[in-house]
Each structure stands twice: as structure tokens, then as C-alpha cells.
């Protein structure tokens, strides 16, 4: 008997020693990889260093930091029944396997943001973006998603807006609501602008994307009439048809008559996308939105997996230096220094306020046990962060001269190939017009100059990685257009769904004024609110298309500020709840990311409104335009800049109100002046444990 206990102790001791050694080895490897990424200068480094650094950071973050949060702060309780169990109705509330919930959650949080933001921020070099993505995800983004998910689970799956109203007060709820609408509108405008920039004067890309509309309609009819409910089957068929459309795009680009039809300017594409957005919002869901959503998810999951395998298998060299000269704020892609602009440009890969809407939306209604919030909330955000690391690699495998030639607007580098290459080579990043012409020819485009927005640069990087793994240079054009199609499909799905979500939110609000306006089946209301939402994001899109600096320079920071301000609201809610739970000594876990975001977003907002440089400050640009020679567009550009300044200022003031209201609550609770009332659903013992035996 005693011998048996002794052997058990020895075995346990062996396991502990082995585990300690493995983690020690990982710590040394991770430290070495982060060290190489951080201090190596001069020679290009291999992308595998980034992959190893990221893997080790995520492993440590998940194993130790998330476990600490789960045990010491949240006290996850596997015996507490979740809303999925207590309120199960077979629709919204449903006990679901944790890996299925993980898949659902990841599919909902992973949009084009983690692909585009890191590509734009690569103008500073690979180092700032990589460090922010790793540290931001482990200490801020994953924490936000995890704690908001758990707090929503403990409140019957309530939304962030409802939690903000209950825990902070009516101001919190109102600001969260306005911030969500503002983010949706700005996001949709920026997303549409990225598609326009990727497709303008590109008959191949435009033809392929145009073909996805009849393919989606066909899928909708197939699902509804021929094989009801066979979504996976029809998604495979749709995917094959999309591949044929990519192949057909080559034919379209080589046939002068067809190429002429599909070679569209920025303004024409913008009008077509606005019309499309309105139609997608007003049409029945089953006809266009649902099949496109399925097709987009199918392509998204497959492509991300393929890119990850491609990077590990090929482990390409990063040609971009660790830091570029543009850390001084004079970058051509967007103006502004690393602090604060790198931290608002990369949102989704590090921390994104939008995620808190999903963590307090569908996901909490599917969680079977509280303990599963750790893998779903913290784990899925780590996966998203890994996608951002892949985007950094895709951008940084390009020669810097090529990267800047693609991403710089004509207003900065010049509108001719000679002028652009001379300007960029003058910065110390050599590139020739012949290099760019050869690359454009290899990917089947007429030109790759001034293709701002991040998507074309990402597509070129991804095509380079894919073509070196599969098929060689001869199929680079196919991979490039596959990548463009993948991004555009992704973004158009966000446009469809985002317009509809914003429409529902406005209909809900308007129903308080006149009841029928809230009815989602009443066509006058559908048409009016769809038009309202599309007009709002269409305005930002038009502003971006007409902007001589490419639009991304002003709109992406505006989107980043709005998104990070929503994260500020989410972290205010989380900190308030933690303090009310009598865990104030651990409040730094959400308070420190909150303070960091406040510093970043408030500084960025100050610069965007008041900076004296016309390339950064909205008011300075308006002033410079007013002082310069007047053209037909001057008055509108001045108005646009003043409007952007006003939107930024209003958002900041509102979030400042939430901060003040939250701080008042914290002080009240900590000094005993405020009655502590955490609005959790009372404990109910789970039945699932008994069922499982």
C-alpha cells in the first residue's frame, strides 16, 4: 500500500519535473526568438523567428496568464449552470461542444482587419507591429474577449450595451450604443474603400468579384429549392465556381472588349458598391446574404490554414527592415509616429473593441461550462493574433521599395512610374519602373502603383508565398487574384452583414418613436433604414475615393480610434465588475490595458483633430485647403475634414464621460460609499455534470 503511494508520488514528481523542463525550454526558445526579432539589425531575418516568437508567447500567455485570470479573478466554476443550459431553446441558447463554439467565435471575430492593419503598419518596419500584436493580444485583446465573455455568460448572455448600462449607468449604455453605430458606419466605409482600391482598373479582379454575385444567388436557390439545408455541399460547389471565375478573369483581362467593360474607375466602383450594399440589405437573407456568408467563411478558413502552412513550409526571408525611417511620422502609407498611430492602425490582431460585441452576443449563449470561456475567449483571440502575424510576414517578404510603391498614394509619391520610383528610391528603398512593370505583368495587372489600402500588397505577398510553395512563378497571377478575391469576398460579406446589423439597430431605436418602424418585415421601414445606413457609410466611401491622399490616410485612423474607444468602454465595464466582485487587488489585469488604450486613443484623437501638419490633423488639412488654390472639390474636402474632426471629438468626449462615470463607481465601491451590487444571475447547479456521471 505504502509502496503504491510512493510510486504514485514518484510518477507525479517525474511529470512535474518534465513539465518544468519543457516550459523552461520553451521560455529559452521564446526569449531567443523575441530577442532576435527585437535586436537584429542590418541583414534580413527569416520569418520563422516571428513564428517561433509568436508560438512561445501564445503558449505562455494561455498556460500561465489566462490560468491566473481564470483562477484568481474570475473563479471559473464548472458546476455553475450557463445560460445555454438554463435557457436552452434549440435556437439562440444551445449547449454546444467547446470546439464548435471556438470555431463559431473565431469565424465571427476574424475579418479583414487583422490582414489589413498589420500590412499598413509595416511601413514602420516589421518590429513595431510584431511586438504590439504579441503583447497586445496576450495582455489586452485576449483578456478583454475572455472576461467580457465570462461576464456575459454570468448575466444570461447580455450584450455589452446592456452590461454597460447596468454596471456603469445609463451614460455607459448610451455611449456603447453610439460607439457601435459609429464604428459600423466608419468600418463599412473603410472596408468598401479597400475593395475599391483593390479592384480599380483591374478587369481580372472586378470580373471575378462580379461573378461571385450570380454564384451566391445560385447557391441561395440551390439551398432553398434543390437540396435544402446542404450548406457544406453547396459551399464546395460555390468554391469550385469561384475558382473557375478566377480562371475566367484571365480571359476577361486578355479580351479587349470584355476588359474594357470591367476596367472601372474608383468613383464608378464606389457607386456600384453603394448600390450593391443597399440591395443586399433590402433583399431576403436567403437569396444573397446567407450564401455569400457561407462561401466567404469557407474560403476564409481554408485560406488562413493554407497561408499558415505555406509560411511554415517555405519560411521566407523578411526583406523589410526591423525599423524604417518612417518611425518619425513622415510615412507615405499613413502619416504619424509609431506612438500612437501603430496602435490604432493594428486593432483586430492585438485588441479590438468590436470583439466585445461578439463575446457578449452569440457566443455566451452557446457555452456549456464556464471553464470553456478560457479556450473560447482567450484562445480564439490568440488564433486571430496569429493571423495578424501571418499578415505582417506577407507584407514584409516584399522588397521594401515594392511595398511602398504599391501602398503609397499618388499625392505623396507622384502619379507617374518615373516620379514614384524616384521618390521611393530616394528614401533608400530602391525600386525601378521595370521591376514594378514586371511584377504587375506577373500578377496579371496593368499597374501596381498607388494601390493603397493594404489589400493589394497583402495579395502580392501572399501570392509570392503561395507560388513559391505551389506552382512556381507561372501561376503567380492566379494566386494573386485568388488572394484579391479572398479579401474582397471577405469584405463584401462584412458590408452585407454590417449594413443589415446597423439597420436592425436603427430600427430598434426608431421603434421607440413609431412602433411600425421597428418591424423588420415592413418594407417602407426596411427601405428607409437601409438607405440611411448605406448613405452614411457611402458618404465616407465617397470621401475616401475623392481624397487626393488616398482616403486610407484619414479613414483608417478614424476607424482605429472608434474601434479602440469601444475597447475602452468594454474594459471600463470589465474593471467595474472586477472591483464590484471584491477583486480590486487584481483590477490591474484590465485597468492597465484600459490606461494604455486611453493614452493611445486620446493622443491619436488629439493629433487627428489638432496636429498642425496637414497630413495628420483634419483641421490643419482643412486650413491648408482653404489657403491653397480653390478647385471644384475644395469646399467639399474642407467640409469632409471638419466632419471627421467633429466625429473624432464627439467619440472622445463620450468615452471620457464613461471613464468618469466608471471611476466614480470604482471610488464609491473602494471607499464604501457606493452600495456594491453585481448584477449576476444567481447560482444554479448544473445538471450536465450529473448527466456526464
Amino acid at each position: 500500500m505504502l509502496d503504491g503511494i510512493g510510486t504514485e508520488h514518484e510518477e507525479q514528481g517525474m511529470k512535474n519535473t518534465l513539465s518544468t523542463l519543457v516550459w523552461l525550454g520553451l521560455a529559452i526558445l521564446g526569449a531567443a526568438a523575441v530577442g532576435v526579432v527585437a535586436v537584429h539589425r542590418g541583414e534580413p531575418i527569416n520569418a520563422l523567428w516571428l513564428v517561433v516568437a509568436a508560438t512561445c508567447c501564445y503558449a505562455f500567455g494561455y498556460r500561465f496568464y489566462s490560468k491566473f485570470i481564470a483562477a484568481k479573478i474570475l473563479a471559473l466554476d464548472a458546476l455553475r449552470a450557463t445560460p445555454a443550459e438554463r435557457l436552452e431553446n434549440g435556437r439562440d441558447f444551445l449547449v454546444t461542444n467547446k470546439w464548435v463554439v471556438f470555431g463559431h467565435h473565431f469565424a465571427a471575430i476574424a475579418g479583414p482587419g487583422p490582414l489589413v492593419g498589420p500590412v499598413l503598419a509595416a511601413q514602420f518596419g516589421y518590429l513595431p507591429g510584431t511586438l504590439w500584436v504579441l503583447a497586445g493580444a496576450v495582455f489586452a485583446g485576449c483578456v478583454q474577449d475572455f472576461v467580457i465573455l465570462l461576464f456575459s455568460v454570468r448575466r444570461d448572455g447580455k450584450s455589452l450595451t446592456e452590461m454597460a448600462k447596468e454596471e456603469i449607468g445609463p451614460v455607459g449604455g448610451f455611449v456603447a450604443y453610439v460607439a457601435v453605430i459609429a464604428i459600423l458606419v466608419i468600418l463599412l466605409g473603410v472596408a468598401a474603400l479597400i475593395v475599391v482600391n483593390a479592384l480599380k482598373d483591374s478587369p481580372w479582379g472586378t470580373f471575378t468579384i462580379a461573378m461571385t454575385i450570380p454564384i451566391a444567388l445560385l447557391m441561395g436557390l440551390y439551398l432553398r429549392r434543390i437540396r435544402p439545408g446542404k450548406v457544406l455541399e453547396v459551399s464546395v460547389i460555390g468554391f469550385i465556381l469561384v475558382l473557375l471565375a478566377i480562371w475566367g478573369g484571365k480571359w476577361a483581362s486578355l479580351n479587349p472588349d470584355v476588359a474594357h467593360i470591367f476596367s472601372l474607375s474608383g468613383p464608378t466602383l464606389a457607386i456600384l458598391i453603394i448600390v450593391y450594399g443597399f440591395a443586399a440589405s433590402a433583399l431576403p437573407v436567403w437569396l444573397l446574404l446567407a450564401p455569400r456568408d457561407y462561401l466567404s467563411t469557407f474560403v476564409k478558413l481554408g485560406t488562413i490554414a493554407l497561408l499558415g502552412i505555406g509560411i511554415v513550409a517555405l519560411h521566407p526571408t523578411l526583406h523589410m527592415p526591423a525599423l524604417t525611417r518612417f518611425v518619425d511620422g513622415t510615412g507615405p502609407v499613413f502619416a504619424g509616429k509609431i506612438f500612437p498611430f501603430a496602435f490604432i492602425t493594428i486593432a483586430c490582431g492585438a485588441i479590438s473593441g468590436f470583439h466585445s460585441l461578439i463575446s457578449s452576443g452569440t457566443t455566451p449563449k452557446l457555452i456549456a461550462r464556464e471553464t470553456e470561456t478560457r479556450i473560447v475567449g482567450y484562445g480564439a483571440m490568440m488564433a486571430e493574433s496569429a493571423v495578424a502575424v501571418m499578415a505582417i510576414i506577407a507584407a514584409c517578404v516584399l522588397q521594401p521599395g515594392i511595398y511602398f510603391a504599391i501602398n503609397s498614394p499618388a499625392g505623396v509619391v507622384g502619379s507617374t512610374a518615373t516620379a514614384a520610383t524616384a521618390t521611393i528610391s530616394g528614401w533608400g528603398f530602391p525600386v525601378t519602373a521595370a521591376d514594378m512593370q514586371a511584377l504587375a505583368h506577373a500578377v496579371g495587372e496593368q499597374t501596381l502603383f498607388n494601390r493603397t489600402g493594404g489589400a493589394p500588397a497583402f495579395a502580392v505577398g501572399m501570392a509570392r508565398i503561395f507560388s513559391q510553395s505551389l506552382g512556381g512563378e507561372t501561376v503567380m497571377a492566379l494566386w494573386y487574384h485568388f488572394a484579391v478575391m479572398f479579401e474582397a469576398l471577405f469584405i463584401l460579406t462584412i458590408l452585407d452583414a454590417g449594413t443589415r446589423v446597423a439597420r436592425f439597430m436603427i430600427q430598434d431605436a426608431l421603434s421607440h418613436i413609431y412602433k411600425p418602424l421597428g418591424r423588420t418585415s415592413w418594407y417602407p421601414s426596411i427601405l428607409a433604414t437601409s438607405a440611411l445606413v448605406v448613405a452614411a457609410w457611402g458618404y465616407f466611401l465617397w470621401q475616401g475615393v475623392k481624397d487626393p491622399l488616398g482616403g486610407i490616410n484619414s479613414l483608417w485612423p478614424l476607424f482605429g480610434i472608434a474601434n479602440q474607444l469601444l475597447a475602452t468602454v468594454a474594459l471600463c465595464v470589465a474593471t467595474t465588475i472586477i472591483i464590484k466582485m471584491h477583486r480590486a487587488k487584481y483590477a490591474a489585469v484590465t485597468l492597465l490595458p484600459l490606461l494604455w488604450l486611453v493614452a493611445v486613443t486620446f493622443t491619436a484623437s488629439w493629433h487627428k483633430v489638432f496636429d498642425p501638419s496637414p497630413r495628420i490633423g483634419f483641421l490643419a488639412q482643412a486650413h491648408a485647403l482653404a489657403a491653397g488654390p480653390a478647385t471644384a472639390a475644395t469646399a467639399r474636402l474642407i467640409f469632409n475634414n471638419r466632419l471627421d474632426a467633429a466625429v473624432t471629438a464627439i467619440l472622445v468626449v463620450m468615452v471620457a464621460l464613461v471613464l468618469i462615470e466608471s471611476a466614480r463607481q470604482w471610488i464609491g465601491v473602494l471607499t464604501g460609499g457606493e452600495e456594491v451590487r453585481v448584477k449576476e444571475t444567481p447560482f444554479v447547479m448544473t445538471r450536465l455534470a450529473e448527466e456526464r456521471g
Binding site: 470546439w99 467563411t297 479590438s352 461578439i358
Partner: protein
Amino acid sequence: MRRAVTATRILLGALLTTLREIFDEAAYSRFLSRTQMRSSPAAYAAFRHEFEEAKARRPKCC
């Protein structure tokens, strides 16, 4: 060898289950068993009608 085959089978099963959930096939199956209907264009239309309100309101991130 047998262990590897079993592990692969479990992994593929989990992957398929996840895909069926993400693509709402499982939700449609649950709808059919809850309403005692057989799969048909009318049943799928009823499923979509019931499902749309919740599904179309789901936000998707950037």
C-alpha cells in the same frame, strides 16, 4: 497504429461537426427534429424564416 487511426477518426469527426455547426447544417437538423418535419423546400424556408431574425442580427468583426 490503431491508436493513430482512432485519433485521426476523432479529429476528422470533430472537424466535420464543427463545420456542420458553423455552416448551420446542424441547426437545420435540430429544427427538423424539433418540428417533426422532413427536409423539403418548405421546411427549409420555415427554418430560414425562424433562423433569420437571430442570424442576421449577429455582428461580424472587422
